[in-house]
Symmetry: C2
Subunit: 346 residues, 2 copies
DNA sequence: TTTAGCACTCCATCACAGAGAGTGCCAAAC
DNA sequence: GTTTGGCACTCTCTGTGATGGAGTGCTAAA
């Protein structure tokens, strides 16, 4: 976090400038600020302050003789120091609650899908959700089900109730009783361990399980890699891309192409979301902070949510020029409602 | 299929015009055709023929005094009557085979993902695959596994080895023995039925199963809807969107935005792919034929592939101005190799 | 039936001018 | 010392011709 100290006037002007620019998408001149907002200051005075702000790198001119536009750092200071979260209206929150807690979401998966699209709809930005990170959870149990002569379905459950499955192929078929016994032995051995620990040294933990089928154990260990780590394509949900294409910042062909590329590289997006996770509370990440060239014209507002002991991330992505005051509340409220709903489900 | 009868000269000119336009993306004039390709005809003669072609609606001028560009119908006639599939080179086919049959694709899911990206890479267009249509398969068996006190995992397998799972929540917990008995009874009752038939009248078929748990049956019937119909988001894979953004036809902001919308509406895409399925062989669908405003500037080359008794669709989507001769072979070969690999896996 | 010739149309590019918006700075006012 | 009015300056944006070039359609001759 950058520490920029501003006097009252500078703060006020920066605040109004950002807010006005967010609305209009046009560089903001001294005249507008002086007239539209009753500052009691002449344009000339405002111009002086604007020069100061520019010297500190908080605003810039697209070209000489244009108004000012916030820089990344300007947005940063705005959200860190000047942002007044805009309370969500009562009816709006009710609608949100209703959508999220609506009947029919009988699976986490589905609830997340719904939440993503709700987020996109009310934010008018791109809604994103990342499924809970499995590795924070505590192992509950594993089931091995033979679904065909040479196919075994692995089912791993964690304490909070999350389930993950993987279909593996065996070269040979194995007797049911052997499968059952092996599963039982695995469950005994792994009880109470966190998934993160399992990822680290699963092979070590199960190598001397007497009475278990070695091939099955081997299979389980091999599969656990893809089963325990977060698999990007499924874990990440996106909704509302179309909300972005209309925004003036994406009139530019190259920027729009960048967005498309960004959306295609899902691993990078997952990483972006995970990077934003600092434990709790809303996080705003702006432009270059996203560490992705394609995402440079964007900003992201995220919040963690929890499902029992594990947690995931939801948020929105839009142009830097977004209504932070409103979106912070929207994302926060959504995360809160989602957590509540998940708690109810388990 | 439109029946357009052309004389030799008209065919030749249309063919060259399409081929040249596909390469250059610029309207084709009579001069170029006369000089570049040894037709032994003067530009004036070619102009006359071009006028004829225009009257028949096969080519058009973007504006007076520009060269000609194929119309949708022009492309249609080209692919129906004039297309000479370009054989894929030996090394290229080898590379393709190697990629598809490479070690590590131990699940259908994964193999399809890989195939999609391979298609995108070698075609330089958007690669798409649609998972096998579950409803053509024959029911093999169902397993009910209690993974937590109030959660039951449904596992349905079809004869060709495809597996689908769904987690459902029970309000109350049910005894293991009851679950096992119910599963056994369901399996007896449903043996040999196709999934399509199940979708139609599952409730009817299982309503009088004596000895089974009514709540479980109820749950099974409720879940089957989402379990048996093809769930769009998972069944459809897309890869290579970035291949499209560079193409000259998508320089236009509106067109590019249309593409993004098209990609977002996955159900529409699934439908487009399914519509193209006429049983067997390569299908080329052009522009308006895709029945989607956003997809209007595009064309699609698809082929079915089979996995045991069920079949799915793979293909590529790109601008209408694409190299059909090459892509037809690419898609066909890929489908063939994929089918072969799937056969090997079962 | 083919082709050469020619008038015509339309696009693309460029230069240029004028209006408008907004700045920076200076000197005067508070 | 701070604020403000005035003013010159800069840069963008828009519209207007002018020009060159590509390609056509048509006609008349080969």
């Amino acid at each position: 976090m950058v520490t920029v100290v501003l006097n009252d006037r500078e703060r006020e002007i920066l605040r109004l400038l950002v807010e006005h620019y967010v609305q209009t998408a046009e560089p903001v001149g001294s005249r507008v600020l002086s007239q539209k907002y009753a500052l009691g200051l002449s344009p000339a005075t405002i111009r002086n302050t604007m020069q100061d702000l520019e010297e500190r790198g908080l605003v810039k001119q697209p070209h000489t003789s244009a108004g000012r536009v916030p820089t990344d750092m300007g947005y940063r200071v705005f959200v860190d120091q000047l942002l007044k979260p805009q309370p969500i209206s009562g009816p709006e929150e009710d609608a949100l609650r209703e959508l999220i807690s609506a009947e029919g979401s009988h699976a986490v998966e589905e609830l997340l899908s719904k939440t993503t699209s709700v987020l996109a709809t009310i934010s008018h930005e791109l809604g994103v959700t990342l499924a809970p990170r499995f590795d924070q959870g505590v192992f509950s149990n594993v089931e091995l089900v033979q679904v065909a002569s040479n196919k075994i379905l692995l089912i791993i459950t964690v304490k909070s109730g999350l389930v993950r499955t993987l279909l593996v192929e065996a070269d040979i078929s194995i007797e049911d009783t052997v499968i059952d016994r092996t599963a039982r032995l695995l469950n005994e051995r792994l009880a109470g361990v966190t998934i993160g620990e399992l990822q680290a040294n699963l092979g070590e933990r199960v190598k001397d399980l007497s009475g278990a089928d070695a091939r099955l154990i081997r299979m389980f260990v091999d599969a656990s890699d893809s089963l325990l780590s977060v698999p990007a394509p499924e874990a990440l949900k996106l909704e509302g891309t179309t909300n972005l294409v209309g925004k003036p910042e994406f009139k530019d062909h190259a920027k729009l192409a960048g967005i498309i590329q960004m959306l295609e590289q899902r691993e990078a997006l997952v990483e972006m979301l995970q990077n934003s996770d600092v434990g709790e509370g809303i996080v705003i990440t702006i432009g270059k902070e996203l560490k992705d060239t394609n995402a440079e014209p964007c900003a992201m507002v995220t919040s963690p949510y929890t499902a029992g002991r594990v947690s995931g991330t939801i948020g929105i992505i839009g142009p830097k020029r977004m209504n932070y005051a409103r979106l912070v509340t929207v994302v926060e409220t959504t995360a809160r409602l989602l957590t509540k709903q998940l708690k109810k489900m388990f």
